[in-house]
Symmetry: C2
């Protein structure tokens, strides 16, 4: 994707392969990322925030160099369908969100987004069709400034061996690792 | 990738494109995902957990159908370099970790993993070479059972409009959205 064009069909093809299916959220997310990039200065090195874990992170990962694993994409779950791209050094950037005030003429998108219809009542094809017609029109964009504490690079600090499980962990987490402290998702930590 | 083969060179090519560079963690992560899949029953529908936000999530996203955005990959930051793949309905699966006890014969991997050398002292090529020689040998695997509460599908519940910012958010988050409650990373929420 170059800065000012968005090849939707190519994107949808990649969504199917990566995300598994054409979820409305990840399709809208593609337009949101496009709009955000269009509002960034050319050539700026940017990081990304997704304000939801749902769909939007995959749009960012497919359309920008930012991934969860390389640390350039952070997910801060604020429950809002929004993302920001910002200068990784100075924190100035743009936030793009799905603007509910612009959904009146797109009833299927509105019903999906605000959960006004059950899944069974929703018409996936019609939602997708409306999303493609609407494009960036249903999004809002505004400048943002990231707080300095969110700009810091994550640093694990000194690595220790957990005396309970025997695995390496960041010493700053405590005298044993977080899993052995009780945060494990497993029946046996 | 089929279940029992791992085309490392193809994977490394895709890592460069997605992750941006051949970070040791994402290369080891590839072997870890491969080992985990080899230990899963054929045909099981699985979800994934990464116990770290660093590198491992990208290996999972590149080598399995699980992504952050489709909800099949969850990141639970326990600070351990480990992942699990598990039956999405029953929670039984396999956990794979980088086993520090197996690193004695791989001094460059050990120095990188336990941060025994500064970044400048590390030799990226030698680390990568040792990782490719070691393959899954430096990993451990054990069966796991995911706690029932982690198997539940995320559900946003009823959607409301935040009276402060005007955006849609999950009503269960409170009378206004989490960003307006103070969790925003922006100078202006």
């Amino acid at each position: 994707m170059t800065k000012n064009t968005f090849d939707v069909e190519d994107y949808l093809y990649r969504v199917k392969s990566f995300h598994g299916h054409l979820a409305p959220g990840v399709v809208i997310g593609g337009y949101m990322v496009h709009l955000a990039r269009t509002n960034l200065p050319v050539g700026v090195l940017f990081d990304a925030v997704s304000e939801t874990p749902a769909c939007v992170p995959d749009a960012i990962q497919l359309l920008t160099p930012c991934t969860v694993g390389n640390g350039w994409l952070k997910i801060i779950n604020l429950g809002r369908f929004a993302l920001s791209l910002y200068d990784k050094y100075h924190g100035n950037g743009v936030r793009v969100f799905l603007d509910t005030g612009k959904l009146e003429q797109w009833p299927e998108i509105k019903a999906w987004f605000l959960k006004l219809k059950s899944r069974k009542e929703q018409n996936s094809e019609e939602i997708l069709s409306q999303i493609k017609q609407a494009g960036v029109e249903i999004c809002g964009a505004r400048p943002v400034q990231i707080k300095p504490e969110f700009l810091k690079k994550r640093d694990k600090g000194k690595i220790a061996i957990c005396s309970s499980c025997g695995e390496a962990y960041p010493l700053k987490d405590g005298s044993i690792c977080l899993a052995c402290q009780g945060s494990s998702p497993y029946v046996m930590p």
